[in-house]
Symmetry: C2
Subunit: 507 residues, 2 copies
């Protein structure tokens, strides 16, 4: 179907920015009685194609009764950003072409295997913005759980790499790491990158924002420095410091992933195939050659058992091999939160304490980061086998890691102050005894209800750890929020759940 | 979580009708800088609870930059209809409570079986309007294809019956029929109901609007008489005439189904479990005791093979037995469209031609309806076994069926004129020969692109049938549309597909 065909049925309207934030769904508002709605037969939730100069989007129609003049097409904030018209600019409006790739999505829903062409067609249409949020939800659900096999996961990963930009650093080994989330506060990346870069390795780190967690690495890094760098700015940072920690979405590496994540977030679904494709497409597109994957395992972490870690790890290694990435794994303890803070600002505070070698720095976070950095130093050839941990420890202890981190933040746009939440509430131990279990999922949920990650200072600050003996009334954790409503909501949630900390009487 | 708890975090705002038709998704618009957004920490696409007197909804938030005054909450048309405030009325606004039933939806996505409690929780929350469109899409996808087993289908059906009203006619056997769609123009219900009622049986028919087809029975009936009857009006119609043909959604029988259908429609997914639950929950809630299911089978019909019909038929009979309904089946020929029209008004025209015994009435539609009516007359005890077809034929031929149909239309609010489309395009045979195949799916899609069912007069009028010998240039079918853009769009679609009619040279 050529553009010429479509233009037979298109009409010119004038663009108006209506200032509605639809959480990135592209929406166009048109009067029910306007000439276009009448002659073209558009009805509510129709999919409409809009052309403005060289830019084209497919938007969902919301029909309005007034507040727009005849001939005006109102654009949501996301549609305005995508089309970039001026106020009153001419838009060519037509029915969206029928979306053939949806037949592949349906086939997947019905349990069929999809080939490479199918994934290319689906991912291409997703990246071009042709899928409505409902279509995205269906694709995500159809691929969730273990519904994608190895070949399908490889196909999805390749399709996601191919639709975006791909970096080439021209430097031989380029290292990277990724932590499969689910463990609140596990913010080792912000420590590993400066340690490794201080030893001369190249580590251009792109990180994601939170999908289902209270903070992604990019959310936490953003508390300390800008992360919305374009590829030129990212390249300058890496050339100057050997590393960077930026948000992957802003550099258009695997842009399909960013679109999927937007809908995955409210759905809160785990998906092995999409997890692998998301992680590895970002790594490959970022030009990495050697990647360490951190797999925290625990009953309330994202990966709940050693067997699940093995299955997921094998899939990561196999897909990596298929697309030319060497993937190494480290299974870590996922029994309890790492560090003390859960939420962007509280986690950033923990990271700074470790880098600055403060006496009160959380030692578990420090130890985890050193082990992972040691692995990467060996994987990247900067340390002989068995000596990576020692080198990492030395570089953190002598201040080179902190100097490197400060240099990275400066190169990305300047080191920032960590904000403090305006509303807090301490939650105390109802009885005395030994802490025998901590529910990471409920803690994460409480941090999210308190406003994290959108409100950077919001979250949970944890004061007690597994094995600690506590008195009745001793603080277990503190809720941090930027708004009283969110604080109340998080408290309410906690009060209606079984206790987050299990405390057993000490005999 | 009690209402008292929630009210701690709620704020009062004033209702404003903003006249946006969001295709029934409940949306609330609030200023980014309003006191509530700031103090409560609402962000775009948050789920917000709104109370207005005794009414409560959960709506999706769209944040706006201006066009609302401080303290105003703008309501979409659907939210306005659900809350029924007056302009400026006080609304209590708070965060939506967390939605625990989503954990069941996730379990289903991951391939787990759900029990009765899980379906009751999910269906209860759906009916209460607590699911966003994304959540609905995920639930529909998770249950699609053959993902629900017998016990789950029974549980879903029971849950859908229990959340709505259930009618009791106090009359012994109450008969009903349902056609599992996919066959364009198969509008036998409008003939079967008056035939059966003219023989004294009780047939309170509730029908659905189109889900993925160009017209549902309710859409076609609406061309001829009002179908949005409440239960009192439906009861009056049945008391006066022994029957009715109304839209199931307006009488709140299985209200969850109406919510699911709204999202199923744009997704266009087949789902055996949801199909069975949808059909049987409506029948049980309507007070039926004996139900005939018409299963048209053909390579491009909804049910594509005799085996698929058997599987689906068995599931319908088994679930029927579990909920106390006697279900009989008739597998019919689904090779080609029934009658000539595809689309509400064109199908209504065919129905009237049969009832009025016009010489040009489509005989295939007439024959199908008589066979089904014969089955029901026997199932309902109005005709001895083997004599149903003769009785049905007699009642149609002597005008009693037409008189009964006119009486039903009058009782529902008055017989209407059939509208004609303002834009038409004849599609001719490109070559001469015998018609050896017709692609029902592409014909249906063309009718939908032409505007059906929203534009009642839109659709496709088919002039040739399987086995016919045609000349080059002979009309095969005519596209009908209410808008030139839709006519062009349907033509465009047809032009980019393989031929809908396969014509083989006659040797």
């Amino acid at each position: 179907m050529t553009h010429e065909h479509i233009s037979h049925a298109s009409v010119t309207m004038s663009a108006r920015r209506v200032g509605v934030d639809t959480y990135q769904e592209l929406v166009v508002y048109m009067r029910r009685d306007c000439a276009v709605c009448r002659s073209e037969g558009f009805t509510a939730q129709a999919r409409v194609q809009l052309d403005c100069g060289p830019r084209r989007i497919i938007a969902t129609l919301n029909v309005v009764d007034d507040w727009l003049a005849e001939g005006q097409a109102g654009l949501s904030e996301s549609a305005w950003a995508a089309l970039q018209p001026t106020e009153g600019a001419s838009l060519l409006v037509s029915h969206a072409p029928s979306l053939d790739s949806l037949s592949h999505v349906r086939a997947k829903v019905y349990g069929h295997r999809l080939g490479g062409d199918a994934f290319r067609a689906v991912v291409g249409d997703i990246t071009a913005g042709r899928y409505s949020d409902l279509h995205l939800a269906t694709f995500i659900t159809a691929c969730a759980g273990d519904h994608l096999d190895l070949a399908e996961t490889v196909s999805l990963t390749r399709a996601m790499i191919d639709v975006g930009d791909r970096l080439d650093w021209g430097r031989g080994r380029v290292v990277d790491k990724h932590c499969v989330g689910g463990l609140p506060g596990n913010r080792t990346t912000l420590l590993v990158v400066p340690i490794v870069a201080a030893c001369g390795l190249t580590m251009p780190k792109t990180s994601s924002r939170a999908i289902t967690s209270p903070a992604g690495t990019a959310d936490t890094m953003e508390v300390l420095a800008p992360v919305d760098l374009d590829i030129a700015a990212m390249r300058r940072t890496v050339e100057r410091t050997g590393a960077c920690i930026v948000w992957g979405g802003s550099v258009r590496l695997s842009p399909a992933d960013d679109i999927l994540i937007r809908v995955e977030r409210p759905l809160d679904l785990d998906s092995e195939g999409q997890l692998v494709a998301s992680v590895l497409s970002k790594k490959a597109a970022a030009g990495s050659t050697h990647v360490l994957i951190d797999l925290p395992v625990g009953p309330t972490a994202k990966v709940r058992s050693a067997e699940a870690a093995q299955t997921l790890g094998r899939r990561l290694v196999e897909v990596g091999r298929a697309i030319g990435l060497e993937v190494a794994l480290r299974v870590t303890d996922g029994l309890q939160p790492v560090g003390r803070g859960i939420g962007p600002a509280l986690e950033a505070r923990d990271v700074l304490a470790v880098l600055r070698r403060q006496a009160d720095a959380p030692d578990d976070l420090r130890q985890r980061a050193l082990r992972l950095a040691g692995d990467i130093l060996e994987l990247g050839g900067a340390a002989p086998a068995g000596t990576g941990l020692d080198l990492a420890t030395e570089v953190l202890a002598d201040g080179r890691a902190w100097a490197k981190f400060a240099a990275i933040c400066e190169a990305q746009g300047g080191l920032r102050e960590v904000p403090l939440a305006s509303h807090r509430r301490v939650i105390e131990a109802p009885s005395g005894g030994r802490i025998t279990a901590i529910d990471n999922r409920v803690l994460s949920r409480a941090a999210k209800l308190a406003g994290a990650p959108k409100a950077a200072a919001a979250g949970v600050d944890v004061h007690a750890r597994l094995g600690d003996i506590v008195r009745p009334g001793q603080p277990l954790f503190t809720l941090h929020a930027q708004a009283p409503g969110e604080l109340a909501y998080a408290r309410q949630y906690i009060e209606t759940r079984p206790p987050i900390f299990q405390i057993s009487e000490v005999s």
